[in-house]
Amino acid sequence: MDKKQKKVVVLPCSGIGKTFGSVARETAHELVESVRPGVTVLTCLPLLVINDPDARQLVTENPVITIDGCPKDCAKKSVESVGKKDFHTCRVVTFYSAHKDLKPEGVAPLNDAGLKLAKISAEELAATVDDLLKEEN
């Protein structure tokens, strides 16, 4: 019987009150659509809280990366709330600290600097995706 190939679940906070929330969302989409398509998948943070069975199963049975926009760590907390302990977490501010020339502004839409920051952040997360897949598959 073939073992089902795991995918990395990418869960951004997508906070709508702060620009870093939008950068988190954009980073997640960039990672899943462009940087590591086919081996990553998005899911919505609120689905975990409203006990959507598919979302909970996806998160509990696959490696996870959470991307939080601010230190409130909403994405991380939501994954922890379903009992998952071992997963990769990151914050947009860490990527911004290394690329301070790209100051994100706006929420929806995000400015060009924010989109560039998201692109770079997604590229930097690619290695994490590869490592997580190596461990699993």
């Binding site: 702060k18 620009t19 870093f20 601010c70 230190p71 501010v93 911004y96 600290s97 100051k103 994100p104």
Partner: protein
């Protein structure tokens, strides 16, 4: 009994800790036996946003009330911090280097920034406000911010 005075604007709750003293430039002071602990007000941390970096002055620095005591950088702005008291910096919160956002999480306790050996407390107090006085000032600032946003 609450330890805070609170004012609400939309969803934001601005808190003022009752036992502290306040400088009008938004730093609080908690006067203890041998030192004064200093940090940012809830109003300042909420209006400036998540703190990404904190630049501090060095341990042992002699500072005067009203002088610059550091800077915070948020996604919105860089803000100069003004010392509420005169004296010598004897301790800097070790958490500040790695986790300055603790100021946003808990501005009045875990988010303290400096401990200062005061040099001139009695005359410094002439400038400082008690919680009730600062609360009135803060409400005026909140109203001004609201007018800027909503006209």
């Amino acid at each position: 009994m609450s330890e805070f005075l609170e004012a609400t604007f939309d969803k934001f709750i601005f808190r003022v800790k009752e036992e502290y003293l306040y400088h009008p430039d938004e730093l609080w002071v908690d006067i203890q036996e041998s030192y004064a602990t200093v940090g940012l007000t809830d109003f300042l941390q909420k209006t400036k946003g998540d703190i990404i970096f904190l630049e501090t002055i060095g341990l042992g620095t002699i500072i005067k009330q009203g002088e610059e005591i550091g800077k915070i950088e948020t996604i919105k702005a860089v803000e100069t911090l003004i010392s509420p008291v005169s004296g010598k910096v004897v301790e800097i919160n070790p958490e500040m280097e790695e986790n300055p956002y603790i100021i946003n999480e808990d501005p009045y306790k875990a988010g303290w920034i400096y401990r200062i050996e005061p040099a001139n407390l009695e005359s410094d107090k002439a400038v400082l406000l008690n919680a009730a006085e600062y609360f009135e000032l803060m409400k005026q600032k909140v109203s001004r911010e609201a007018k800027k946003l909503y006209g």
